[in-house]
């Protein structure tokens, strides 16, 4: 089983996230692996671990990121969880890519991996926590002309197919897709493992493969700012709220709450 896991390098949600010149600030001081991609990595690792020994030995999990060199940090974290290889697709031509540019670059990277040996599954996170698009997985599947089973909660391999159950806002569903397929994993699917000492040490010396747009045969006009169909023209922090009106409950706290709501005509 060969699995590619696209992982994104994003500003840490616990850090002060900001825009610089209408672009997300990807300062290495605040950058990290998109947490939701840990669910994808966990799902990939578990699928391989569920195989028999011989199949496990011939399996490979490759983490792929489209990011500037700072993005290596996301790949390091993927190594710490246990992936075999890390690929970074970087190029000045890719800066400013929209969803379509990103999906095009990821698809080209998967195709390049396919020149070595078939890729059975592409497993992504359910969303990137910087932009919360949740659309790259579906676009990637379309680019690769593979079925998409997104937002998976339970995942099972059945003899050349993948079966998934999911719960969206509208319905609970089971989906079945023949391999090769593209899968996105919901945050409810699993609890990502903590890296052990051995993997953390091993991750330090793993080599990251860097591929350029030209290596992947990408047309610079189709990706990055040149190919983007939207343009962010304004980004500003919201004004700070006035300080909270804080009431200590000494027996009348509920009454104070009710009166606040009534006074402001909220109920």
């Amino acid at each position: 089983m060969r699995i590619a896991v696209p992982v994104k390098y994003v500003p840490d949600i616990n850090a002060e996230r900001k825009f610089v010149d209408c672009r997300v600030d990807r300062d290495p001081g605040v950058g990290t692996l998109n947490e939701l991609d840990e669910n994808a990595l966990e799902a990939a690792l578990r699928l391989v671990e569920s195989l028999d020994e011989a199949e496990q030995a011939s399996s490979e999990i490759v983490a792929v990121t489209v990011a500037p060199p700072e993005g290596d940090m996301a790949l390091r974290k993927a190594f710490q969880m246990g992936v075999d290889r890390g690929v970074r697709v970087s190029d000045d031509a890719l800066a400013g890519s929209d969803y379509f540019g990103t999906a095009t670059a990821l698809a080209a990277a998967v195709r390049r991996l396919e020149t070595e040996a078939p890729v059975d599954l592409v497993i992504t996170g359910m969303a990137a926590l910087d932009g919360l698009g949740s659309v790259v997985p579906a676009l990637l599947a379309a680019e690769l002309d593979r079925p998409a089973v997104t937002f998976a909660k339970k995942i099972a391999l059945l003899d050349g197919s993948v079966e998934v159950t999911r719960e969206t806002d509208e319905a609970a569903e089971s989906l079945l897709a023949p391999l090769p397929a593209v899968l996105s994993v919901a945050d409810t699917a699993n609890r990502p493992r903590f890296p052990n000492f051995k993997l953390i040490m091993a991750a330090r010396s793993k080599e990251i493969e860097a591929w350029s747009a030209a290596d992947l045969g990408l047309d610079p006009g189709q990706v990055g700012t040149a190919g983007a169909r939207t343009e962010t023209t304004h980004a500003a922090p919201r004004p700070e709220k006035p300080a909270v009106e804080l009431v200590q409950d000494k027996g009348e706290g509920g009454k104070a709450l009710a009166e606040y709501l009534i006074r402001h005509e909220l109920v």
Binding site: K18, A171, S174, R229, T230, L246, Q248
Partner: protein, 329 residues
């Protein structure tokens, strides 16, 4: 509301077509500020739905005729909805596609954008046009701490729009609504839908995404959502939770970055610490109130009003006072 300056056609996705949800009424209201609105559907609209569409100024509903093998549960696949949207845009020569911010609609809008070469904005909090006539989507990002605006530079723009972006308003004059069929072919590789059970919603309460008041409970409830429900009933609110509370099995839907996004007039959080993941789904609420027994709870940083105390005492007492206030009115 502003009159459109361009002669645009705006297509609004109506899915499901049995009832016109308030999120769709918002899209129709918003659509009228950009151009002439038409609707696109994958199933026959109900009589009530047609009446509402007429009141909101929709003269034509385009109903997709799908290949036989895609008329069942498969018609809900986002790739199928995308093919319908793309075909409807070609049919009507539409300039703008608007859809609600559900998980499936986001994928469908993106895939239709791919098919059409259209620029896509996911989960806009507002849609307008700039002085050159480009469609502009505004967003609240980074857990509601930044405002952004992006303009679409292609001829066709496709957007999903968050609930509570505008107040739904019927058109000045109602129109008669006609349903017109159109044939849609779906290309590409689709998974099989082997089972599907539609979510049944609690009809006694407003839906979480669209409610004007939301009351949420967290780990601080210690599993007892009784006071949360009592207070929610007193104020007529929808109920939500944190992911931790849902993982514990105390409630079924959570608010946040990976859960439901809410932007009500009033949000009340009880026994919730205010983690960035949770804030991401509620920080755009107009008034934020919290009850927490920790005077240092991080959620207080984003509150307008808060009570430091035991949530069961505070919510129960508040519910009583509000019930009395309402009874006396």
């Amino acid at each position: 509301m502003a009159e459109p300056t361009h002669n645009r056609t705006v297509l609004v996705l109506l899915d499901p077509a049995g009832e016109v949800r308030s999120s769709v009424l918002e899209l129709l209201t918003l659509g009228r500020t950009l151009g002439r609105v038409e609707a696109v559907t994958l199933e026959a609209p109900s009589v009530e739905a047609l009446a509402q569409l007429g009141a909101y100024g929709v003269e034509t509903v385009h109903q997709a005729e799908l290949p036989a093998d895609l008329r069942g549960d498969s018609r809900h696949l986002s790739a199928v909805v995308a093919a319908v949207l793309a075909a409807a845009v070609r049919l009507t020569d539409a300039d703008v596609v608007l859809a609600p911010a559900t998980f499936g609609a986001k994928e469908a809008v993106a895939l239709a954008g791919r098919e059409l070469g259209a620029g896509v904005i996911i989960d806009a909090a507002g849609v307008s046009e700039d002085d050159q006539g480009h469609i502009v989507g505004t967003k609240r990002v980074f857990a509601g701490s930044w405002d952004t605006a992006s303009r679409v530079t292609t001829d066709v723009a496709a957007l999903t729009v968050r609930a509570n972006a505008v107040v739904p308003q019927p058109a000045e004059t109602a129109v008669a609504t006609e349903v017109e069929g159109f044939v849609v072919n779906v290309a590409g590789n689709l998974p099989a839908v082997t089972s599907r059970t539609e979510t049944v919603r609690d009809t006694d309460r407003p839906t979480l995404e669209e409610a004007a008041i939301v009351v949420a409970g967290g780990r601080g409830t210690d599993g007892d959502f009784g006071p949360v429900h009592e207070f929610a009933d007193a104020v007529g609110a929808a109920v939500g939770a944190t992911r931790d509370a849902v993982f514990e099995g105390w409630y079924d839907r959570y608010i946040g970055q990976t859960g439901v996004t809410v932007a009500p007039r009033l949000y009340v959080g009880a026994g919730i610490s205010g983690a960035p993941h949770h804030r991401g789904g509620m920080q755009a609420s107009q008034v934020i109130v919290a009850v927490n027994n920790d005077p240092e709870a991080p959620i207080f940083e984003i509150c307008d009003f808060a009570v430091v105390g035991e949530l069961s005492d505070v919510l129960t007492q508040a519910a009583e006072v509000i019930r009395e206030h309402k009874a006396a009115r």
